[in-house]
């Protein structure tokens, strides 16, 4: 078997590597280069050096978008993971119809973000109208919680599946032993199940963290950043720098913002990985 791997590895690696280079590495390198350029279309760029980076904060919207995004990420990461884990616990106890519940909870994840955004906009606006509160696009607080609800609804099912897999892998001997030793359900949960599913927690927090931080479609369709940029997240802010302002220089500035955005996501994700990895235990 090992011999075969040695012989045929290019066959397995190269296609994916090729796709990765064409679809990711090249555009990424071009993106870095463009962040130092003034351009209207990508094949007609003019080098301007660090000018774009110094202009990132010029329009006062980037910091606000960052604060909104950071807060949103914290809230959704906690909510999604806690709820997904709770649902996973419920659905690993052998309740009748477990499989149907799992499928139904997973389904929202199959719908695209833009569509979900518009559906939830109608739903939430009707509710707010009934309650005689200002609509989504009028109050950033409602926009914020609307986005949280939407993201939870969409992501909990997906994370639940990962947690279910994790929970099913907790060795039965351990659970049995703890039961015999007289551990309470809470103790079993915190001392056995959670440490044992730590790898799933690492994956799920990583996914929710980066998904929330990079969120674009749902933000665009649910609130569009209204009112007056107050519910605008970083990705939408970059998009608006690109297309809502006049003058070729804004494309470069948007690209510089995108680079800063990339670095932020990487730093945050690395810190998170390090923190949760440290808590993983060997089986």
């Amino acid at each position: 078997m090992e011999k075969a791997t040695k012989k045929y590895w290019p066959l397995f690696v190269l296609p994916t590597l090729g796709a990765f280079i064409i679809g990711f590495v090249i555009p990424f390198a071009e993106g870095i280069w463009l962040s130092f350029c003034k351009f209207t279309t990508v094949n007609n760029a003019q080098w301007v050096g660090f000018g774009n980076y110094s202009k990132i904060w010029l329009d006062n919207t980037f910091t606000q978008a960052f604060a909104f995004t950071a807060l949103f990420t914290v809230v959704t990461t906690i909510l999604i993971n806690v709820l997904a884990f709770a649902v996973a616990l419920l659905l690993t106890r052998g309740i009748r119809g477990t499989n149907m519940f799992r499928t139904v909870f997973f389904m929202p994840n199959l719908i695209g973000g833009i569509v979900l955004g518009y559906i939830w906009q109608t739903l939430l606006n009707s509710l707010l109208m009934l309650l005689e509160k200002p609509l989504l696009t009028l109050d950033a607080r409602y926009g914020f919680w609307g986005l949280v609800v939407l993201m939870c609804w969409q992501q909990i099912g997906y994370m639940m599946i990962i947690y279910v897999a994790g929970l099913q892998n907790v060795p039965l001997e351990l659970l049995e032993a703890s039961h015999i030793d007289g551990a309470t359900p809470a103790q079993t949960l915190f001392k056995i199940k959670i440490p044992m599913v730590m790898p799933s927690i690492t994956i799920c927090t990583f996914l929710t963290l980066t998904n929330s931080f990079k969120l674009f479609d749902q933000n665009l369709s649910l609130t569009g950043g209204e009112p007056a940029h107050a519910s605008e997240m970083l990705a939408l802010n970059i998009y608006n720098s690109f297309y809502a302002r006049a003058g070729a220089q804004w494309k470069g500035i948007g690209q510089a913002k995108a680079m800063v955005f990339f670095l932020l996501v990487v730093i945050i994700a690395l810190i998170q990985l390090r923190l949760t990895r440290a808590k993983e235990v060997q089986q």
Binding site: M1, A4, Y8, L11, F12, L14, P15, T16, G18, A19, I22, G23, T40, T41, V42, N43, N44, K55, L58, D59, Q121, N125, M129, E132, P134, L135, L136, T137, L138, D139, G224, E226, P227, A228, N240, Y243, A244, R245, A246, G247, A248, Q249, W250, I253
Partner: protein
């Protein structure tokens, strides 16, 4: 056995991977695939003959452009591809299309501010035949002697009125002569709303599908009057002299509407159309392009009145007429394609087929010598105003500093309507926002 399986799997993977990749390096032959690309391939043209790729801005005229392109190809053998950008995505589509090896040869910008992004891509049209066809130099987008763009359609907007309903309320169009009379009629209809069964204005929706009617088109009026008073054509810093009038007309729209002002934030363009067509409202602010949406009411029941805001001398004000559709030719296109594009443009505005399509099928008023009268009844109404000595309001909104500025004003208008924001915010978005955006454009 294992070996065979491994090879098989790897081959499948390769097929999958390479099956997806060719999209990235754009194939140089085929024009970009799009649902609106005409399916029939033009006959194989002789060598060195160019081709035309038109990136159309108006989704409502997509079919007509496709038909016209096919007619041109049938007549001359020159392939013409028309691709229409989805509503509201022209700038993004244009940006990505222009980066391709088969870039549009004919595209459009919306005026001086839009031109700022694309100036380096525009072919100088000053020597072209189509430029010679323009009825007036006012319709060219010029800087010095360089002609960057040519307006191909002149449009008009105002307040579309349902005259049948107006009559039911006991009024006629001639009763509306200025802001005061419009206001008193609207408020009288609102007072008797329960008896009449309809409202004065259709909802002034601030959803992105409709907010441009107010943050751009309605905002044009205070800008127009300020430019007129100061005798200027654009400015780095707007003063907001006529913002009280803007407030007055906005108040009138939102307080005499089919829905509560609080709900406007979520109302769409389609909501307003359906209210108007279903006889729920007398007035609907929109332009000549909306004729197809409202023609179900019958031409005899439709009229368009000027948007009065209470400025001095407005009894002589006509409808708002202008253009934000300028044709530009890509100067980076191959020589033969540029020539083919110029020939196509000239054919569209001079030939029998072209002018008929523009006037009848698309209902355009075109600023070209050979243009035929448009079949759109709103256009006829607009000409009547001019014939009666009324002064058309120019489209000053092409000088608005950026989309961002419009969004800021729109946001503030929405908040004001819902009662979550004060009018001061509209004023600051309008005045301070203008200066700020103007400076950012030059950052």
């Amino acid at each position: 056995m294992k070996k065979t399986m491994a090879i098989l799997l790897a081959l499948t993977m390769m097929a999958l991977a390479f099956g997806c990749t060719p999209a990235t390096p754009a194939p140089p032959t085929a024009p970009p695939a799009s649902p609106s690309t005409p399916s029939e391939e033009p006959p194989k043209a002789p060598e060195a003959q160019g081709s035309v790729y038109y990136l159309n801005f108006k989704p409502e005229q997509d079919e007509q452009w496709q038909a016209l392109a096919a007619a041109y190809t049938a007549e001359t053998g020159v392939p013409v591809t028309v691709v229409t950008a989805a509503s509201g995505t022209y700038e993004t589509t244009l940006t990505s299309e222009m980066a391709k090896s088969e870039a549009p040869t004919l595209f459009q910008v919306n005026g001086p501010v839009g031109l700022a992004n694309w100036k380096d891509y525009c072919y100088d049209l000053s020597g072209s035949a189509v430029y010679g066809e323009l009825t007036s130099d006012d319709f060219a987008l010029k800087e010095g002697n360089t002609v960057y763009g040519i307006a191909y359609v002149i449009e008009t907007y105002g307040i579309i009125a349902n005259t049948a309903l107006l009559q039911k309320a006991g009024y006629k169009v001639a009763d509306i002569k200025n802001f005061a009379s419009l206001k008193s009629i609207a408020e009288d209809i609102t007072a008797r709303k329960a008896d009449l069964g309809f409202s004065a204005f259709s909802s002034a929706g601030m959803d992105p599908s409709s907010d441009w009617r107010f943050k751009t088109h309605l905002a044009n009026l205070p800008i127009y009057y300020e430019y007129k008073a100061d005798n200027i054509g654009d400015t780095a810093a707007i003063k907001g002299t006529y913002l009280d009038n803007y407030k007055a007309i906005w108040d009138l729209y939102i307080n005499n509407s089919t829905v509560s002002p609080k709900e406007l934030a979520a109302k769409t363009g389609n909501d307003a159309v359906s209210e108007f067509v279903n006889n729920e409202a007398v007035f609907y602010q929109n332009g000549t392009w909306a004729y197809n949406d409202v023609k179900a009411l019958g031409d005899e029941n439709l009229y368009m009145i000027p948007i009065y805001i209470g400025a001095e001398g407005e009894e002589n004000q006509g409808l708002c007429t202008g253009s934000e559709n300028y044709w530009c030719v890509s100067k980076n296109a191959p020589e033969e394609n540029i020539k083919a594009t110029l020939d196509f443009m000239n054919w569209v505005v001079t030939s029998e087929t072209g002018t008929t399509a523009l006037a009848n099928e698309m209902g355009f008023v075109c600023p070209f010598k050979a243009a035929k009268p448009s079949a759109n009844p709103f256009v006829t109404i607009a000409s009547e105003y001019i014939a009666n000595g009324k002064t058309s309001v120019a489209w000053c909104f092409s000088t608005m500093p950026s989309e961002e500025w419009k969004n800021g004003v729109g946001s503030a208008l929405t908040a004001y309507a819902a009662g979550t924001g004060k009018w001061d915010k509209v004023v600051s978005a309008f005045v301070e926002g203008w200066a700020a955006e103007y400076n950012l454009n030059r950052a």
